[in-house]
């Protein structure tokens, strides 16, 4: 069996929404180069709705596929809905990820959250701090019996 589902490979090979948005309304970056994955998400927001979203990711196949899928899932959605996106939903939309790659979907969730928080902070919009826990950079890798 292949490591990744067809959907992961599709989003890895033909990633959606790659790029940057100049003068983005919100930018979120999580992860770090030492661990081998960085995800950066740019948001264009109008009337509380995500009009456009772009990403750049340094990372493995599942990190890129998770970024691509996550941006697809929030594009055109109100912020309230984007904030409800969970890493599980990203992974499910990709027809699953291998257990040791689940942290990539966590990174995607956290990058979106970080971008929305950046938008709120920049515009002085009040928000419930509990909704924005400190990103863990998705690096709580499950310990696996190999």
């Amino acid at each position: 069996m292949a490591l990744y589902s067809e959907k992961v490979m599709d989003h890895f090979t033909n990633p959606r929404n790659v790029g940057i948005i100049e003068n983005a309304d919100g930018v979120g970056e999580v992860g770090n180069a030492v661990c081998g994955d960085i995800m950066k998400i740019y948001l264009k927001i109008k009337d509380g709705v995500i009009e456009d979203v772009k990403f750049k990711t340094f990372g493995c196949g599942s990190a890129i596929a998770s970024s691509s899928m996550a941006t697809e899932l929030i594009k055109g959605k109100p912020l309230s809905q984007a904030l409800e996106l969970t890493n599980k939903a990203v992974a499910e939309a990709l027809d699953g990820l291998p257990a040791h790659k689940m942290h990539c979907s966590v990174l995607a969730e956290e990058a979106i959250r970080a971008a929305i928080k950046d938008y709120y902070d920049k515009n002085g919009i009040e928000y419930d701090k509990a909704q924005f826990p400190e990103p863990k950079d998705g690096h709580e890798h499950p310990v696996e019996e190999v």
Binding site: A33, D37, K56, C60
Partner: protein
């Protein structure tokens, strides 16, 4: 060339040679006897086993009684190291010297011994991936039981000064083991002139079958039994022998040694062309000494890329390679080998290992030289880390 598979992961495993397959076949059907059986059918197998032992001994210049068949390189490494450690401990010698970039079959065995109270010195392999004999000499103590240094590294392909290290160990009365899994059949081995006491090899790295290997143990160096049972391998390794696999391994090694010079010349030419071609990519770096490396090994880092992404793209273009990226290992850490050369984590993640065999062609190398730059560019284009390097937010390391 799109639907063709270009296999350049020969350090992981090789395709079996026609010679090895032909040697194996009779043992699957006609010659099925147990070598321990007294009857004619069994004795046919026993003779085949004896012949294989003699062939392998001839390839590394030892006596056939010094060859012990195992399930592969890992078992041979385990048995060699544990034997010397436990026999050394009886004499109060509980110190072992090794290098920082050994295969895990060696490192994890040593970790186990450390937990049991042994002390291990991990020698630096310097930025070129080569330990010096002088480093070894300085590390030897009164209580040193064993020096274990790999013949050639599996990731960066660097060849270690085995004969010099062997000479130092012999003079100091310390047992010298070398994991020659990557070297056997590829570079000349002579356990006598190179002063090697113990050596591990594995058939599937030189076009033999998987699941079979051998340990050379010089006469007079005591071996412990890891697998208890029958009296096979002179009581040092129980279990009915993998006769076909062993005969096939011997045939493969004999062929590899007979053709070593021609194969090396061919592979070195391809290797050097590949290295020159790939180093034209900006911000790339060859890992490991350029000269003292295996004929088929190329290991290059491309800054701003991540190895698994490189491999997936290459695979989709028919190229089978490997990487020392963390994402290919199911752990957080990139390859300990690349880190031991002093590379930072973020560079080690972007490594690509291409390991050739004599089956590769110049046409394939040209295709790789054409394809890798495209893939590196694709991966960099999407990489936020590459953006930061390009804009100067982060400084280039390479």
């Amino acid at each position: 060339m799109k639907n063709r598979v270009i296999y350049v992961d020969n350090a992981a495993t090789t395709a079996m040679s026609d010679t090895a397959i032909k040697a194996l076949m009779p043992y699957l059907k006609e010659v099925y006897g147990n070598p321990s059986s007294l009857h004619t059918v069994g004795q046919l197998s026993n003779e085949a086993l004896d012949g294989a032992r003699e062939t392998i001994a001839g390839c590394i210049n030892c006596d056939k009684k010094e060859i012990y068949f195992t399930s592969g390189g890992s078992e041979a490494d385990n048995q060699a190291i544990l034997s010397v450690a436990y026999f050394g401990a009886v004499k109060g010698k509980k110190h072992i010297i090794t290098t920082a970039f050994e295969h895990h079959a060696v490192l994890h065995t040593l970790n186990k011994l450390e937990k049991e109270g042994f002390e291990v010195t991990y020698l630096d392999v310097h930025s070129n991936g080569i330990v010096t004999a002088e480093d070894v000499r300085r590390a030897i103590r009164q209580d040193t039981a064993l020096v274990t240094v790999m013949f050639a590294n599996n990731e960066v392909g660097t060849i270690q000064p085995i004969a010099e290290i062997g000479e130092i160990c012999r003079a100091a009365g310390v047992v010298f083991h070398t994991d020659a899994v990557q070297a056997a059949g590829h570079v000349p081995i002579d356990v006598k002139s190179q002063n090697i006491d113990m050596l591990s090899l594995s058939a599937h790295k030189f076009h033999g079958p998987k699941g079979v290997g051998a340990l050379y143990c010089r006469k007079g160096v005591p071996l412990k039994t890891l697998i208890e049972g029958g009296a096979q391998e002179r009581g040092r390794r129980a279990g009915t022998e993998n006769v076909g696999g062993i005969v096939s391994m011997a045939a493969a090694l004999k062929e590899a040694c007979a053709n070593m010079r021609a194969n090396s010349e061919k592979m070195e030419k391809l290797r050097d062309k590949l290295i020159d071609g790939l180093l034209k990519i900006s911000h790339s770096r060859l890992n490991g000494d350029r000269e003292r490396r295996l004929p088929g090994n190329v290991n290059i880092c491309f800054e701003g890329t991540e190895g698994e992404s490189l491999l997936l793209h290459l695979d989709s273009k028919g190229i089978c390679a490997s990487s020392g990226s963390a994402c290919t290992t199911a752990s957080l850490e990139p390859s300990h080998v690349l880190l031991s050369l002093g590379l930072p984590h973020e560079i080690a993640h972007g490594s690509l290992r291409i390991s050739l065999s004599e089956y590769n062609t110049e046409e394939e190398i040209d295709y790789i030289i054409k394809t890798v730059p495209e893939v590196v560019e694709t991966v960099r284009e999407i990489s936020s880390f590459w953006d930061d390097l390009q804009t100067g937010k982060i400084k280039h390391f390479i």
